[in-house]
């Protein structure tokens, strides 16, 4: 611990990650169960982008590339970036590196709202926005519930917060499952799986703009708040003495986290551990300063989820594994390692 902190310069790392992400997006579109050759994929993409003409024989391949794989891959990047960003926000909010929207039950809460719209037709008057608004509302509600239940007169302890989040997340998952099964739906069990473990199988062009817009807006807000997040991470009193009202900043973070989590969950279900691990990885690479973390974590999250999605639809093709299975396989050991390393900071003498 006494050595100087070794870090990677942020700008080259960010550029490298961005390049890798771009490449991965192409891979995401090129790889798939139906085995379209890469030159064809590139030609079809080019045609889609420039409005070129295609032969009638390309119609099926074009539909796969342009209508299925491209929106799905883009959505994977958006969801991964959004999950990582909300992880950063929640960790600063509760001042603990073991928190994320999934661990705290916010993702499962959002899934309840999204399902209420999809299966029960709630908020039908809101049209295409119904799912997002409902998921946002229930994410916010879940967050407030967890926060209130975990709070003591002496503030929030990490242990109480994570226990409360885990308990409530079981409750929310039960509600989701109940709704899916009672909706008299042919593929109810698979749908329930998709909400509980996350999947990008439902991606369409319709879901990309709302998700991308919300995630980018959330990221823009967080980037503007980076300095204030640093102050908040140092403690409420320090934060106040540096001119940052901790209660007000927390309220803002509540709303932003709920909005991004709600939107992301509405299009992909509750994907775990990305929000937990990416901020941690980013801090290991570039340090704890939020200006840097908020560049690296979303890029790394987007990159991870693009590849996880590729794996989820190619490994057992034509069957699909839920994305959450892969993130859990990566996430659980990493979570345990982090908890062991921070044993004394986690529910111990603090």
């Amino acid at each position: 611990m006494s050595d100087p902190v070794r870090r990677i310069p942020t700008l080259p790392l960010a550029l490298g990650l961005a390049a890798a992400l771009l490449l991965s997006l192409v891979c995401g579109v090129a790889l798939g169960a139906s085995g379209i050759e890469l030159p064809d994929v590139l030609r079809l993409l080019g045609a889609g982008l420039t409005g070129g003409r295609l032969d009638a024989g390309d119609a099926a391949a074009y539909a796969i590339v342009w209508e299925l794989r491209l929106p799905r891959t883009l959505l994977a990047a958006v969801v991964g970036g959004g999950l990582a960003a909300t992880g950063v926000a929640v960790q600063a909010l509760v001042r603990n590196a073991l928190a994320d929207p999934f661990v705290l039950g916010i993702s499962s809460g959002a899934a309840v709202g999204a399902n209420a719209v999809l299966l029960l037709g709630a908020f039908a008057s809101l049209g295409v926005w119904a799912i997002s608004v409902s998921a946002f509302g229930s994410a916010l509600l879940a967050m407030v519930l967890v926060y209130l239940a975990a709070r003591t007169a002496y503030g929030l302890t990490p242990l109480r917060l994570v226990l409360t989040g885990t308990a409530l997340s079981y409750g929310f998952s039960a509600v989701t499952t109940l709704m899916v099964f009672s909706a008299d739906h042919a593929e109810a069990a698979r749908d329930a799986m998709m909400w509980l473990l996350g999947s990008l199988g439902g991606a369409t062009w319709g879901s990309v703009p709302i998700a991308a817009g919300t995630v980018l807006a959330g990221l823009a807000y967080l980037a503007c708040a980076a300095g204030r997040l640093d102050a908040l991470a140092m403690g409420d009193e320090t934060s106040a003495s540096l001119g940052v009202d901790p209660d007000r900043l927390r309220r803002e973070l509540f709303v932003v986290t709920a909005a991004v989590t709600g939107t992301v969950v509405a299009v992909s279900g509750a994907i775990g551990f990305v929000g937990l691990l990416m901020p941690h990885l980013a801090r290991m690479l570039v340090g704890a300063g939020h200006r840097r973390v908020l560049v690296i974590a979303p890029l790394a999250g987007a990159l991870l989820l693009v590849w996880v999605d590729i794996a989820s639809r190619t490994l057992l093709a034509p069957a699909e594994l839920p994305v959450g299975v892969f993130t859990a396989v990566l996430g659980v050991p990493a979570f345990l390692l982090m908890m062991r390393r921070r044993g004394q900071a986690f529910g111990g003498r603090r």
Binding site: M1, V5, R228, A233, S241, L242, G243, R342
Partner: protein, 269 residues
């Protein structure tokens, strides 16, 4: 012993004036109509037994708590009427918080002191900010620590770094909440000497009465949320008061080398 419930007489260059401040937390009144004042450049000490309300009163000055009554004025401005940011440009604080969850480097911790001076929400540190931070770290002799993780520092190193952060905040008033806690004697003396330099005006809670006697221009004694004595150390630290407020028998002596007032503690009352 002088009972001090009325405001102290104002001096010419009065900088800080706390006037009739009361603080309530969860229905309990922890501080009762406290008034105190500090002239520009003074180091003013707040002493009193555990739970007497020292930290609570300080929290009103660096604006974590809003008083239930009374005002805190710095150079005439009511601190609680300013924005949080404007207060932070005038008042810096060393709190008793030591979070270890996030491994900020020392340089990053010091740079946070520039936060209230940044233009615009998204603005990052400027070249001027970086120069100020480097200079502040040199001034507290911690420039060699710049790239170390703040949570890995020793207690004395941490306090030096936090003083550097206060320096770059360029405050009119520095508030310290028991800055010498858990430090060895050399670090205690060092932190107080640096605080006096960093000032310009300093308000500090202290547990060690001999440190308070040697380093403060003026002392206020808090007991159960009320000021019960105020004045220069030799006026305040008299055997009767020490027996009544702190419950100890003490003999004041003059330090043979420095001439400062020091206390020899005899026994419990």
């Amino acid at each position: 012993m002088t009972a001090m419930t009325a405001p102290t007489p104002s001096t010419g260059a009065e900088e800080l004036r706390v006037d009739g401040v009361s603080v309530e937390l969860a229905g309990a009144r922890l501080v009762h109509e406290v008034s105190l004042a500090a002239a520009a450049g003074q180091v003013v000490g707040l002493i009193g037994p555990n739970g007497s309300g020292k930290s609570t009163l300080l929290r009103c000055v660096y604006r974590v708590l809003r008083p239930a009554g009374g005002t805190v004025r710095l150079a005439g401005d009511d601190l609680h009427a300013l924005t949080a940011r404007d207060t932070a440009r005038r008042v810096a604080a060393l709190t008793q918080e030591h979070p270890a969850e996030f491994e900020f480097t020392v340089a990053e911790v010091v740079a946070m002191g520039r936060l209230p001076h940044r233009r615009g929400l998204a603005a990052g540190p400027t070249a001027g900010d970086r120069e100020r931070c480097a200079a502040a770290l040199r001034r507290v002799r911690a420039d060699h620590l710049a790239e170390r993780a703040f949570p890995s520092l020793s207690g004395g190193e941490k306090q030096r770094v936090l003083i550097a952060r206060a320096l770059v905040q360029e405050p009119r008033l520095l508030v310290l909440d028991e800055p010498t806690n858990h430090l060895d004697i050399a670090h205690q003396l060092e932190v107080l000497a640096l605080a006096r330099e960093a000032g310009p005006t300093v308000l500090t809670a202290l547990h060690d009465l001999n440190l308070a006697a040697a380093h403060c221009d003026r002392l206020y004694v808090l007991e159960a949320g009320r000021i019960v004595a105020a004045g220069e150390p030799h006026e305040v630290l008299r055997p009767e008061l020490l027996a009544e407020v702190f419950g100890v028998r003490a003999t004041p002596v003059r330090h043979p080398a420095t001439g400062a007032l020091q206390l020899l503690f005899d026994r419990l009352v």
